[in-house]
């Protein structure tokens, strides 16, 4: 057992120092009925080579995005991550460190978090940001709960353009906490409809841009309407690369911005771990969930960083804590921050422009296919199309021909009556030949 350093002699000597004659004597507090004599019914330990073979066999049974034509988005995006990012996050001092509770020997992590907070605030156009949450969907649920605390109101209005998984995540938490939610009808251009739903009980309005159908929206009017009614505007973004091209939610008047940060620095990972971005106006920060890193000085007057405002958190406030968040996504936030530092202003804008260009090329190729209708008019790198028949069946057929064609909307919401809608995304990793191949096979399958 190469991970366990004690030798049999060590163990015997240590038991002697403790003054007991067997290891069982240290488990004396366990009720006799619950003490297990032998090993549980699972395989015995395996060497490194055996583990590698077993894991590789499982991995081979998955079709990875890099194998060819691939067009899935819907809240998780495939971007190119520079080799530098993965190299740095695997440095021991980042990978194997814990929560920075001793700031004097955790300045590396803390300065990264302070820089991350600044990057996220800049990107979203907000005054402050926290040091990350689990992912975009849980961040959205926390934002709704925060809005109820700030406004002392009890209802969240959710646009029909919000990712259905996010809606379900918000609903789960809101239901438990006794917060009412109102989800508006699913629609491709849905954001404006929320204005009419705002009333005196509304704590917040949740909108997404680009929304789950890819539609990019100017939410300025919604922000004004929400704020005039005493509610907060929560803007969700599942594709943060879009912020390199589009106006930031802050510029459009958002009170809270939550986003999935996976697109920058983090791989697809079958859905996690991801990195939840959370930014808000400064006046609300003491109601915000999650960790915050702040600037301070040390005994010599030198600038340093510490976790701060933790009096909001569970370990101190217990049943009066402001959130359910304990950990954050430190390592994923680090990956985000490194990739963002590599891109810089120039690189991010360029990356966003390429994404948009690739998606337009995809749009043009698919629009030329008889039977395909493009549903989203203003999009960044993802849009919805209508296909003849069931999109889910079409996707299975195309998968058999080597194309991962996108996400059928029915996979996100089976009851919206949109079984013939397919969400397709393109990024800088989409090659022209991928698009050509997709369009050719799709045309052939539809014609059959």
């Amino acid at each position: 057992m190469r991970y366990l350093p004690l030798t049999p002699d060590d163990r015997a000597e240590m038991l002697g120092v403790i003054g007991v004659d067997s290891i069982d004597a240290l488990f004396v507090d366990v009720p006799t009925s619950a003490r297990r004599a032998g090993t549980v019914d699972l395989p015995l330990h395996a060497g490194e080579l055996e583990v590698e073979r077993e894991m590789a066999a499982l991995a081979r049974r998955n079709r990875s995005a890099g194998e060819g034509s691939f067009f899935c988005g819907a809240g998780a995006y495939r971007h190119h991550v520079p080799a530098t990012v993965d190299h740095i996050i695997q440095r021991s001092e980042f990978l194997t460190s814990y929560t920075p509770y001793q700031p004097e020997i955790a300045q590396g992590t803390l300065q990264v978090l302070f820089e991350f907070q600044t990057q996220v605030a800049a990107l979203t156009g907000m005054e402050v940001a926290n040091a990350s949450l689990y992912d975009g969907s849980t961040a959205a649920a926390e934002a709704v709960m925060m809005a109820t605390r700030v406004t002392r109101r009890n209802k969240a209005v959710m646009s029909g353009g919000v990712h259905p998984h996010y809606v379900e995540t918000i609903d789960t938490l809101a239901h438990a906490a006794g917060v009412a939610t109102q989800r508006l009808a699913v629609a491709i251009d849905a954001e404006d409809a929320v204005i009419a739903a705002i009333d005196a009980d509304t704590a917040c309005v949740v909108v997404q841009t680009p929304n789950v159908f890819g539609t990019a929206t100017d939410v300025t009017r919604i922000a004004a309407a929400a704020q005039a009614a005493g509610a907060l505007l929560i803007v969700v973004t599942t594709e943060v690369v879009s912020l390199g091209l589009l106006k930031s939610p802050g510029e459009m008047g958002a009170d809270i911005v939550v986003a999935e940060g996976q697109s920058i620095g983090n791989g697809l990972n079958f859905g996690g771990p991801y990195v939840g971005l959370f930014a808000c106006k400064e006046k609300y920060i003491r109601q915000a969930p999650g960790r915050l890193c702040g600037e301070t000085v040390d005994a010599d007057g030198r600038r340093g960083f510490v976790l701060t405002l933790s009096t909001r958190e569970q370990h101190i406030r217990r049943d009066k804590a402001t959130s359910n968040i304990c950990t954050n996504s430190g390592l994923c936030a680090l990956a985000f921050s490194i990739h963002m530092s590599l891109l810089g202003e120039v690189g991010l804008r360029q990356l966003a422009a390429i994404n948009h260009e690739k998606a337009r090329a995809l749009r043009d190729a698919l629009a030329a296919i008889p039977g395909v209708e493009i549903l989203t008019s203003r999009f960044f790198n993802e849009f919805a199309i209508r296909v003849p028949g069931k999109a889910a069946e079409l996707v299975e057929t195309l998968a058999g021909q080597g194309i991962i064609a996108g996400v059928p909307f029915s996979r996100l919401d089976a009851h919206a009556g949109l079984d013939d809608v397919l969400l397709v995304a393109a990024t800088e990793t989409t090659l022209d030949i991928d698009i050509t191949f997709f369009a050719k096979v799709l045309a052939k399958v539809i014609a059959q």
Partner: protein
């Protein structure tokens, strides 16, 4: 006495008075470089990536286009590498030395796990690509579930919670759904011992319960009489950490479960400390209804300076029908996911915890660790974790004061500050002095039920030699504190990248981001 006059110290006890009195011109300390914020460097118009040109965006986006700068600095690749490498060198890490944070389980993070998680077949697959194209990933989730169920003796597991506290929420939501299904929705109280993790009452309150505390006995366990007096048909659940945060096994756990069930309530167990019992004790045999398992603690997935975590929750028969979606099912064509509550196969699911399927990247790491250890190795894990903690307790008890001296502890040894009484040294001072000796401090001031608590958890991946080194250092520090060498402690740390940081100032004048317009430097108050 200067370093030069005595030569290089070779024993830890002799490295006493090497206070750094020579300020450098740059702020750097030899190889430890002073590193400005990334925003304070020149060269905002560079980029560290090479991307092709792109055409102008489509006209229909005109009114939506960003006009103002974002405000992000740009650097070349070598500049970025150097920035982060310099920062990394200001961190303590388990790969550098012992990290004895109690209740946090900082153990060896095998690199094999990292390599496995990065196989493209796991790392480069999309959560919503056709299920027929991810059968290996779904099988891995199924196998991980099988291991967790077997090790805990529980029939079901919900994999999706993204951290321990998220797992607690999952368990409490399942309990709530189960009560509602039985027409017992009026049960609105959750009992939690005073020694519980702060996340326990926080979670219960967050999902709408009123929290009532249960007292603790003098020997650090749940007070059964107090528990009995507070149980009733208004109680939904009890939340108990076992082994508890005092590092002790709840001897009466079976009786706690019996009383709880007799009152019609469920037993939630905080499984953060599962590494103390894995392979030796199955929580299912104790009467537990729900328990989260921090994969980053018991199964070695790295914590990366704060996360990601992963908190799968094992469930009893009574709670299994209410697990959140997605549900993994095994059909004729292989594995499939039922993704929405109410759908065939997941009619009774309480809802969804997050988008997608949880922390797949952590499942791969945890599963590789499980395979490496096997049933025999995991049992040894619990034995060595407990042995190491009791060894430290035995070797430090004559110079420090164990909070619960009688009987063995489990995977962590808890001391209080009574042994520091009259020395002028506090728990915090002592912790900071440990930094100067090259060790990460233990957990301080937790659990709250012990005054000036010092909670030391060595874990199973520390050798006897490393523990002995730690013991020598702590004993020497203890003697220094008792002999009146207060300055060593009050001024500590002297040798860390930073001296002691002013945490009060940070909270009083929150400065949470860098701003483009230079602000006046913060000054100590």
């Amino acid at each position: 006495m200067s370093m030069n006059s005595v030569g290089r110290p070779t024993r830890p006890e002799t490295a006493n008075d090497t206070v750094d009195t020579h300020a450098t011109l740059t702020g750097a300390r030899g190889l430890l470089q002073d590193e400005a914020l990334i925003f304070e460097r020149d060269g905002w118009h560079k980029t560290g990536v090479d991307l092709p040109e792109a055409s102008a965006p489509a006209d229909d986006l005109n009114s939506l286009l960003r006009t103002a700068p974002i405000g992000l600095p740009g650097l070349s690749e070598p500049e970025v590498v150097r920035h982060y490498v310099r920062l990394s060198q200001k961190n303590h890490a388990i790969d550098l030395a012992l990290y004895p944070l109690g209740s946090c389980t900082m153990k060896h993070n095998p690199r094999l796990n990292e390599k496995m998680a990065r196989l493209p077949g796991f790392a480069d697959i999309h959560p919503l690509q056709p299920q027929s194209t991810v059968q290996g990933a779904l099988e891995l989730m199924d196998r991980l579930a099988h291991w967790l169920k077997t090790l805990t003796g529980m029939p079901a597991v919900a994999l999706t919670p993204k951290a321990g506290a998220h797992g607690e929420m999952c368990g409490m939501l399942a309990i709530r759904a189960a009560h509602e299904a039985k027409g017992q929705g009026h049960r609105k109280t959750v009992l939690a011992p005073t020694s519980a993790h702060g996340t326990n009452p926080a979670t219960a309150a967050f999902v709408g319960y009123t929290v009532v505390e249960i007292a603790q006995t003098a020997d650090g366990r749940v007070d059964l009489a107090d528990l009995e007096s507070k149980l009733g048909d208004h109680v939904a659940a009890i939340m108990v950490t076992n082994p508890n945060t005092c590092g002790l096994f709840e001897r009466d756990v079976v009786e706690i479960a019996r009383l709880t069930h007799a009152a019609g309530a469920y037993f939630y167990c905080d499984g953060a400390n599962f590494n103390a019992i894995v392979g030796r004790v199955r929580p299912g045999d104790l009467g537990v209804d729900a328990m989260h398992i921090n994969l980053h603690k018991t199964f070695s997935t790295p914590h990366g300076g704060g996360g990601p975590g992963a908190g799968p929750v094992v469930l009893s028969e009574a709670l299994a029908p209410f697990a959140p979606t997605p549900w993994l099912v095994h059909g004729e064509d292989g594995f499939a996911l039922v993704e929405h509550a109410g759908e065939a196969g997941a009619e009774t699911a309480f809802g969804r915890m997050s988008a997608f399927h949880g922390q797949m990247g952590m499942y791969t790491r945890a599963y590789a660790y499980m395979l490496s250890h096997g049933a025999d190795g995991l049992r040894q894990v619990a034995e060595d974790a407990v042995l190491n903690a009791n060894y430290l307790k035995a070797r430090l008890s004559d110079v420090m004061s164990p909070a619960f001296p009688d009987g063995p502890c489990m995977h962590e040894a808890l001391f209080d500050d009574s042994w520091l009484e009259g020395t002028g040294v506090t728990t915090l001072d002592f912790a900071k002095a440990m930094i100067d000796e090259g060790f990460h401090p233990m957990t301080m001031y937790f659990p709250l039920v012990v005054h000036g608590a010092m909670l030391i958890e060595p874990t199973e991946t520390e050798s006897k030699q490393e523990l002995d080194r730690f013991v020598v250092a702590l004993r020497a520090l203890a003697h220094a504190a008792k002999s009146g060498d207060v300055e060593r402690f009050k001024g500590a740390p002297y040798h860390a990248p930073m001296r002691r940081l002013d945490e009060t100032l940070a909270a009083r004048k929150p400065r949470l981001r860098w701003k483009p317009v230079a602000e006046a430097p913060l000054a100590a108050e």
